[in-house]
Amino acid sequence: MSPDGKASQSGSAAVEAQRVTKIFGGGDDQVVALDDVSVQIGENEFFTLLGPSGCGKTTLLRLIAGFEHPTDGRILLGGEDISPLPPFQRPVNTVFQNYALFPHMTVGGNIGFGLEMLNKSKQEVDDAVTEMLRLVRMEELRNRRTSQLSGGQQQRVALARALAPKPRVLLLDEPLSALDLKLRKEMQIELKRLQNETGITFVFVTHDQEEALTMSDRIAVMKEGAILQIGAPRDIYDHPSDRFVAHFIGETNFLEAELLERKNGAAKVKFPSGAVLPASLPDAPISPGKVSVVVRPEHSRIATTKKDAVLSGTLENVVYFGTDTHFHFRLNDGAQFIVRMQNARDSGDDFTPGQELGIAVEADAVQVLRD
């Protein structure tokens, strides 16, 4: 398994999971941690697995690293099946959630460990350690014991250790979750920088949607052992294809509407009010009729003219947030709807709860959901 292994027919995928299923245990207490998951992660990509606790993120990482074996399906690395390889023969490194730094070695010893195990010469190991320490900006701590490091420093050492052997893929399992908010923000930037400088594929696990949105090239949203949607952060945010995804990421409004028969390309939905708007469709095939749609609060505003008003309802509550204000509506059909508007200097106090108002929705803001 050479790190520069030949390109295969699957193109530029650095890692690929093909119909991977992982079942833990057996009999009555068996757990399906991954259910027929397929995903391709490209070279140089910052790829994030996002999902609630227990959805199988760690399991997928451990399958790639080789700590677990798939019950069914294959894991490919650069197009080659690595299923039979033990962890120590896979050109993949992991940044463990608790860092797992060797307490009996120095910072330098930890960082050089992988290269030493690859039987590199002492000179090579030393040089690599120096380079890595420079990369994570910790040159002066080379001979420290790892127990004498702060959380952020340990994090950097863990990163340097995993990057030192120049793996094809770096796996990061919630690496920032043990850090406080300020340090986490710093490390997010640091991680992005490291990924840019090294050009290594990062597979990053988190259950923090904001972290996922800010850092990733692409995100896979998972739920109960399945991947629901894969896409760029913008895609996922603006065009969630699934109720769960829409709900999990950001705040959103769910509405009932009728998908109209498609006429020359563009899809349109009709709201109970009679208003008809263009809408984006999910990847999955969907037939005309009753559908659920989502509209992000910031993609709507309070209508100034009757013509703009797609929906109408009673203003129930106004919540001021500094940069913007949330208007909570009770629609005429009983549903809740939130409008978020930027606060300009002259806006704000025109609306009082109890008012009957119209709501306008931006063009292209309506997303039809699967099912």
């Binding site: 690293a65 080789g66 700590f67 033990p86 962890p87 120590f88 023969q89 993949v92 490194n93 992991t94 463990f96 608790n98 797992a100 730094l101 060797f102 307490p103 009996h104 460990f113 992988g114 195990m117 690859l118 250790r161 995993a162 052997p165």
Partner: protein, 286 residues
Amino acid sequence: MADAVTQVDTPVRGASSPSPKGRGFDVKRLPGFATVAWMCLLVLYAPMLVLVLFSVNDNRSVTIWTKFSWRWYEEVINNEGIQHATVLSLKVAVVAMVVATAVATMAALATTRTRAYRGLPVVYGIINQPLMVPEIVTAVATLSFFALIKQATGVTGLGYLILAHTVFCIPFAYMPIRARLEDMDLTLEQASADLYATPWRTFRRVTFPLLLPGIFAGAMLAFVISLDDVVISLLVAGPGESTLPIYIIGQLRRGVTPEMNAVSTIFLAVSILLVTFFFVLARARK
């Protein structure tokens, strides 16, 4: 209900008459317990102090103090019986310690940090068996067994005694090693495998160095336990195989002499030294 309300309205008693500084109500204190604790300490150490004191008394009497002298220690050092017994005790203890520690380390590696597997409770049971049976029972059972083998094969020798010691040393060596392994972070070994170390190199470079304090502690306990054993040695040892405790118990039958104080003091010192070492190792864990 009404009572509770009035009580809230009345000023808090503690506030109206503040207790003297640092003498507030101590939830942890129970009256008299400290006295008992100090008494226990006195009871535990007084006899040993007496023993040590009279080992440096220049007098045959083990009751009346005359003056300080090392003479009993000189006699102990020149006593051939004691020399013999000491060498034998050390021989047995060292071999039993090495074998028991090696075997216990292996067993500990296979009985920790895995999912429970079929047979695991049985393995635990077997390893801890020597702790659950009274010493005298083990002693007579081992004696009977060895007698049978000696009769069948005609082979005799120190091996039997060493083997008997090894058996009861195993669970003592096993305890601290297992404790250490269970404290150890499993992800460290995974990290090592992730960084291209083969299972053997992971063991040598990560598991073993981290386990070493536990192994030392286990060896220490095994050594002390073997050195201290009386009952099993007494019954199992063949003729001419007197370990130091057997020699001492034999001498005591003939009467209490100051030499016994001296040799006991040396023995005590060795035990305390080893236990101190063990304590330091156990604390190095943290």
